[in-house]
Symmetry: none
Subunit: 219 residues, 2 copies
């Protein structure tokens, strides 16, 4: 990384923007812009020819967007890493960039030093998302995790300890007879519990009870 410049191809449909970024980047002597492109399609071709370390792609470009290009980059120049440059930190774009296999998502209002640092970091193998973009990432991560462990409202239905225990067994596919045996209670008792649990959960059949229990992590 130190004995050889980081080679970058820049893709943005505005020549002026490209020039500005290029000047900014080449101010750093570890970076060299080896090619430019005005749209995603062109970017892929240039990348194929130049095999740069990084392909910096504006999102909004004619013919082919930066996101589409990023997704196709692997088959044009496998070792080149796509970096998305964008004005917006919209969740949709960010997630699309992730899906497209981009190694970075940098906002256009990032300051120069940060930008250079980001590119160096990406070229050294890790990913980089502008700080405020990581907001999206964090939220998505949280919602992902929490979809498996939601508010844990658990107590919202105020199931008693016994009821939770029985619900758990029902969720495991145990039948009343089995549950009754393993708790050493009568089947009728278990039935009553199930009935009460369903009433508390506001459902009308066993399967919905199980679905709800699983979805809301009541077990």
């Amino acid at each position: 990384m130190d004995d050889k410049k980081i080679e970058i191809v820049l893709a943005d449909d505005h020549a002026l923007v490209r020039n500005g970024i290029k000047a900014m980047l080449e101010f750093d002597h570890e970076i060299r812009v080896t090619g430019e492109a005005g749209n995603g399609m062109e970017a892929l071709e240039v990348a194929k020819a130049m095999k740069p370390d990084l392909l910096v792609l504006d999102i909004r470009m004619p013919v082919m967007t930066g996101l589409e290009a990023a997704a196709k980059l692997k088959s044009f120049s496998p070792h080149t890493k796509a970096v998305i440059l964008s004005m917006h930190d919209s969740e949709e774009y960010v997630l699309q960039a992730l899906d497209a296999g981009a190694f970075g998502y940098i906002l256009k209002d990032t300051d120069k030093n940060e930008f250079v640092r980001a590119l160096k970091q990406i070229s050294s193998g890790s990913k980089y998302f502008s700080g405020s973009v990581s907001n999206v990432l964090a939220n998505r991560l949280l919602s992902n995790r929490s979809s498996s462990v939601p508010p844990a409202k658990d107590d919202a239905y105020n199931l008693s300890k016994r009821e939770k225990e029985i619900l758990r067994m029902v969720v495991e596919g145990k039948q009343n007879k089995q549950i009754a045996d393993s708790l050493d209670k009568s089947v009728r008792t278990i039935e009553t519990h199930r009935f009460n649990i369903m009433k508390k959960l506001g459902v009308n059949n066993a399967i919905d009870m199980v679905n709800k229990a699983v979805k809301e992590n009541l077990v």
Copy 2:
């Protein structure tokens, strides 16, 4: 946010570090450091007294770590947002910070401007994770997404199209009568299908059938 300074309490066990950060932050006239603490426990007490906008916590502190303090902050000062300050971008720490409800995770090598910008952003409600920390977030997100859509072996049991359709409805909690009505078939037919589906899945009751269908994403 503009008419009133952002109030911050700083917690780090090294007074020198606190002073350095304090000087750096107060250079910005929108920020004011209203309290300091030398460990997590102290930080919580100071936060309780000062009700600052942000509580900036070093991870490694005696008595109580910054992560522990962040997790408990809500009950000491609900509107205060925890920001973790760390030297390491280890996945474990970052994820713990997320779990603890931190609004930010900032690396100590972040430059001054970036740091100030991050704090402002956090105080305005969004989250902020240092660019290189988002590497962790992105990776985790990617692995999460793919784990949520497993092998999708789907065809392993070679259910017929009709069987899959009925299984889907069963999973949705529909009863045979409803399914029969909506498909305009007899209840007996649906029963037969269910029976055959269970045989193919190798389960002995409806709940296990549903569990298996959900777990293995057969719907």
